[in-house]
């Protein structure tokens, strides 16, 4: 019987297999940031251990960093960032600190350097590590104990999850994006639907997505409960990688591509679960509640609550069932994050904002300094500023309440990030997850709006 992509990549990384034990998996790339690593480095120090493979490890500062120029003012945040610098220096780990041209959100910098490649195993103390699966590897988030384990051994003991195929049939209609698709998928299978699975996204609509779009899809796998999401590599993947700083070169490139082409699910492979989605039925999709599964098409009313959790969510969000989603007024629009902070996202926003003015406070935050430079080279920053939006430095920004970019209690946002949990963007803040295109149109009208309705 054939094997799935996930099974192939998994098998290629088994260091040791023994009856009744989890597999010991080799980890090809370990991404580090300041939040989930300090206690792990402390653990190494206490046990007198070293980082086994600093050459497979890379660190950046992202969660705590302010997105306006200047030092970190919060002393606790500052200590955390300084701790990472001290640890990286002591253990010999490459670090891209604030102000460095390579700095950015951890899941943006891996792909942009060409460090994220097909068939690799990639981990990070961050649940959105699933992003990297867009290149056809197995990438998943881990906790601090496992961060320490990978630092010390470059491996992880793990049981292979079950496999799920999400088959997106047909073509996405014009104006429907990768973000709309993944929000619709999460609403369909639920926040727990992917628990225990590695998801492989397949089908025509997925094949037609750019690498940026594929990363958006895989990024939010965890919001459906799946630790990892992946997409088989193809010409789109190879074209994205070619020429990047850490991509193979010369003969190595040819050898790598030859291997990468084998990384696809065999025709006779069987998934443990298959979910089918008709792309043609989709339209711009937004969330109305406090988990990413509580979403609906933007052109529909807020649905009636199905249970006490929905009721609680509506109460927190200050919303009433039956209100058209497109009537919801927002105070703030946030464009950025590891979900939608890449150059293609910024281009889409600029296309809509060009020649228009924003009505809501609008933060546009590039996912990395390289994305920022590219956007400025293309003149996107001028479009944003002329429209009245704020153009910021790279970082996680308003995706989570760890840096100065937060919502005030009761404030409402349209956000291109990945989580609408209670208080995620600041205590008492109310978040609607949207695509970059809907975010831009919403900035223009001040209420949730699809670009087609401008």
């Amino acid at each position: 019987m054939g094997r799935t992509l996930a099974e192939k990549v998994w098998e290629q990384h088994v260091v040791r297999r023994a009856e009744g034990e989890p597999d010991l998996l080799f980890i090809d790339l370990h991404l580090i940031h300041e939040v989930t690593s300090p206690q792990a480095f402390d653990g190494l120090r206490m046990a007198g251990r070293k980082v086994r493979r600093p050459d497979l490890t890379i660190a950046t500062e992202d969660h705590n960093v302010p997105t306006v120029l200047g030092p970190i003012e919060d002393p606790v945040s500052k200590t955390q960032v300084e701790t990472l610098r001290k640890n990286a220096a002591e253990f010999g780990v490459r670090l891209h600190p604030m102000g460095d041209a390579g700095q950015g959100v951890v899941h943006i910098i891996g792909p942009q350097f060409g460090l994220t490649q097909p068939g690799m195993t990639i981990v990070c103390g961050d649940s959105h590590t699933s992003t990297h699966g867009a290149f056809g590897g197995i990438a998943f988030g881990i906790g601090t104990s496992e961060v320490e384990h990978v630092l010390a051994t470059q491996t992880l003991p793990a049981y292979r999850p079950k496999t799920m195929a999400i088959e997106v049939k047909g073509d996405l209609p014009a104006g429907v994006t990768a973000k709309d698709l993944i929000l619709a998928i999460i609403a369909k299978i639920g926040t727990g639907g992917g628990q225990g699975y590695i998801v492989e996204y397949r089908g025509e609509a997925i094949r037609k997505l750019s690498m940026e779009g594929r990363m958006t899809i895989c990024n939010m796998s965890i919001e459906a409960g799946a630790r990892a999401g992946m997409i088989a590599p193809d010409e789109t993947t190879f074209a994205y990688l070619k020429g990047r700083a850490h991509a193979p070169q010369g003969d190595d490139w040819d050898k790598a591509v030859e291997h990468w082409k084998t990384l696809r699910t065999d025709d006779d492979a069987v998934f443990d679960r298959v979910v089918e989605i008709e792309a043609a039925e989709l339209s711009p999709f937004v969330t109305w509640g406090t988990n990413p599964g509580q979403g609906a098409p933007l052109n529909t009313p807020i649905p009636s609550p199905r249970n006490s959790e929905d009721e609680r969510a509506l109460q927190y969000m200050g919303l009433t069932a039956g209100t058209p989603l497109s009537d919801i007024q927002v105070d703030t629009v946030f464009v950025g994050s590891c979900t939608n902070g890449r150059i293609e996202d910024l281009r889409a926003v600029a296309d809509i904002l060009k020649g228009r003015q924003v009505k809501a406070r609008t933060l546009i935050v590039p996912g990395s300094m390289l994305v920022k430079l590219e956007a400025e080279k293309e003149g996107l920053d001028k479009v944003f500023i002329e429209a009245g939006a704020e153009w910021r430095q790279a970082g996680c920004s308003m995706c989570l309440g760890m840096n100065p970019d937060t919502l005030q209690p009761g404030e409402r946002s349209a956000s291109t990030s990945n989580r609408n949990f209670e208080g995620r963007q600041g205590k008492g803040g109310r978040t609607h997850l949207v695509s970059p295109q809907v975010a831009a149109a919403t900035a223009v009208t001040g209420k949730l709006t699809a670009p087609a309705d401008l």
Binding site: V15, R16, G20, L24, F26, D28, L29, V35, T36, P38, Q39, D42, A47, R49, R52, P54, D55, L56, I58, H63, D74, T79, Q80, G114, M120, G125, S127, T129, G141, I142, G143, T144, S145, E146, H149, T153, Q154, T155, P157, P161, T191, G192, Q195, G196, E223, G225, R227, A247, D252, W253, K255, A256, N291, N307, E309, L400, G401, M402, F421, G423
Partner: protein
């Protein structure tokens, strides 16, 4: 890691589904670089409400957290596990857990117990009717005992053994350092390095 064999205690019924790790401990608490003091951040937004279950004297001293389905979804923050443990809980019982949270729990010796949704509902009813109800979580026998009933739960042999012995994963893995070295020697030369 603390070893876990069997534990008896009272429980706090947290009747909410989809409790994500941002609720268990909001991001603002994640700035600490130490491993201690996270109990203050446990459910910190919800604890501002005097009616919140953790604020009720009747449940003071409870050591088992009775949760709703899909507990611990979202972020990979192990701080969520630390906060629950440091507050005094030894086990969490739920019908479903977020994968990363469950994994993190087993690394720290906080036992995640998966029981059928109906059984968890029943335990909620029992504890709400009588907050002094004692629940025993027996990892050795893989069962939860309460009020003369026994409900078995599944956990793989290896994780159970590791929890019962309180073993540190890194130490176990380093016994296989030779296997790791052999694997490393066989890796493709074109795979990227960060240097």
């Amino acid at each position: 890691m603390d070893a876990f064999t069997t534990h008896t205690g009272t429980a706090v019924p947290l009747r909410r589904s989809n409790v994500d790790t941002d609720q268990i401990i909001p991001a603002v608490w994640l700035k600490q670089v130490s491993r201690t003091g996270f109990e203050k951040g446990l459910f910190s937004a919800w604890r501002e409400d005097p009616a919140f279950v953790l604020n009720q004297d009747t449940y003071a001293g409870a050591t088992i957290l009775l949760a709703g389905p899909d507990f611990g979804t979202g972020s990979s923050r192990e701080h969520a596990v630390w906060a629950i443990q440091q507050y005094g809980f030894r086990a969490v019982i739920a019908a479903r857990f977020g994968d990363i949270f469950r994994n993190n729990s087993t690394k720290m010796g906080l036992l995640p117990v998966i029981l059928d949704e109906k059984v968890v509902e029943h335990l909620h009813d029992l504890v709400e009717a009588d907050p002094s109800t004692e629940i025993t979580v027996d990892l050795d026998k893989r069962e939860v005992r309460v009020a003369g009933e026994a409900h078995s739960f599944e956990i793989d042999d290896y994780t159970r053994w590791r929890l019962m012995e309180g073993l540190d994963d890194i130490g176990l893995t380093l016994r296989h350092a030779d296997d790791i070295a052999t694997y490393e020697n066989g890796r493709q030369s074109w795979l990227p390095t960060t240097v």
